[in-house]
Amino acid sequence: MDEDRDLVIVGGGPAGMAAAIEARRAGVPRVTLLDESTTLGGQIFRRLPAEFRVEVPSAMGVDYQKGQRLIDATRSIQAELLPDHVVWGAWEGRTKEIAAHGAGGSRVFSAPHVIVATGAYDRPVPFPGWTLPGVITAGGAQAMIKVQKVLPGKRIVMVGSGPLLLAFAVQLHQLGANLVGVFEAAPRVSLRGAVGLLGAAIRGNASTLRSGIAYLAYLRRNGIPVSYGYAIARAEGVEEVERAVVRRVDREWEPVAGSERVIEADTICVGYGFTPSTELLRVVGCEMRYSLQRGGPAPVRNGDLETTVPGTFAVGDCAGVQGSEIALLEGKIAGTVVAGRLGRLDRRTSRERLEALNRPLRTAQLFRAAIDKVFQIRPGIFNWATDGTILCRCEEVTFGDVKKQLEGQADANAVKALTRVGMGMCQGRNCSQHLAWVVRAAIGGPVGEGPLLTARLPVKPLPIGIIADRAAVLPRPPSGPSHQSHTVTGDDPPPVESK
């Protein structure tokens, strides 16, 4: 079969690329890497469109160049690289099948090993007015400004939390944005937090710490106010954003009454972390564990980064948002493990390489944990929406609509059935975590632990014409007990009456 492979990697960001490089380095023969975008790089190493010329590469920043080196390396290893391919289906078994469509239709790849590196996306945060044009995620703003060279608006307010917030604010301003305010939900970095960071910094991550201070200084110099302990209250406007209303929040991110400030703005850039893209993992039955700090549900993995589905690995942000350093290391680890499983590395070499990777991984994880401790997502974020706020953007269902259906229902899927939440084009990506919280809050129990909407095929919406076989006829029913009773002579098609 010409679509048989030794390894299929889904996702061409840092984790996926690192896995490909490592697997090929060890001699794994048929490696295919699939990515939805036109260029490799994922989100953090997003490339400019091919037609844009990069005149001064160094002006693009350290990340961009790092990304370019990684992409160049990936292109040199003779793996089958398939950008512009959307993975829509996966089937488990001793041999796994991955269906993806791109130019030239739909293809199904078979391999004994799959590495899922689907990354993460901006955490959707419902608040009143969040659906107005002008409310944009930090990632979306970054895509527009860094990649497309277009400012998303004329007066931009940034709301969010985390180490990326200030970095991104600086970047936005440097690229010409009119930034009128930055609102960080966390309190000013506490002394204890700073010491923790300092400790981790000593292990070789000092650059991040220095940058944080530098960013603040930059913003101050340029007259951009930074407020701590403030979060978005609502977006106001008729057809588009006209005003951003922010308010103080306490340490748990619960709103503080009477603290609202109104800011004239046409764009609200929202950055409260990321959520792992786990649909593919859930469709094949990987066991998940919920972690608010890691962004949401994440697959349970063993030391080899293998999920509970044997032969299926998860690396990078899709396994819990931990940033690109960890993504790179995890990709390398999984690539090495797969090479070992395929007999391309002897046991000793494999062990040595894995040890050599696990050491920096542990260090990076420690640093990440320190960062996460200082910049925690607090559960109050789930109380920013009111009953009138849209929960399911696609199907236009409000929180109030859902709460009415919650009497006696413990099951997000039952609520979906009754309210249509999660039945739209985004397939629950914008709403399922919040839905799980709302359901859980209604019936009690640890918040955030509620079951998510069941992930189904297709993993991404699939244009039907690509796979439909217009010459199809209903196949003869299999002989045997299953269908005998529906025919007498066996010559007729089974009942059309489907359920």
Binding site: E36, P133, R393
Partner: protein, 85 residues
């Protein structure tokens, strides 16, 4: 040059439809079917399906993931009727 709701609109070769629309001051990409809410670019990376427009009559195309091509006809009010024009 491409067409947005029939209007000739300038764009850079290779940029996304979303970027071209924003650059030309268009931020409302569609209205929702039931409540007619204005929607536009949200996630910018192909996940949220808010930025969908009709391209050459085909509805539900993500503007942030699709590159502008010369003479492309884009409709920002994509009822299927409008898309067929």
């Amino acid at each position: 040059m491409f067409y947005v709701d029939g209007r000739a609109t300038s764009a850079f070769l290779g940029e996304s439809i979303a970027a071209a629309l924003l650059a030309n001051g268009v931020r409302v990409f569609r209205r929702t079917p039931r409540l007619r809410m204005a929607r536009g670019l949200f996630c910018g990376m192909g996940v949220c399906y808010e930025c969908v427009v009709a391209v050459e009559g085909r509805p539900s195309v993500r503007a942030c993931m699709t590159r502008v091509e010369a003479e492309m006809r884009v409709t920002t009010q994509p009822t299927d009727e409008a898309a067929k024009e």
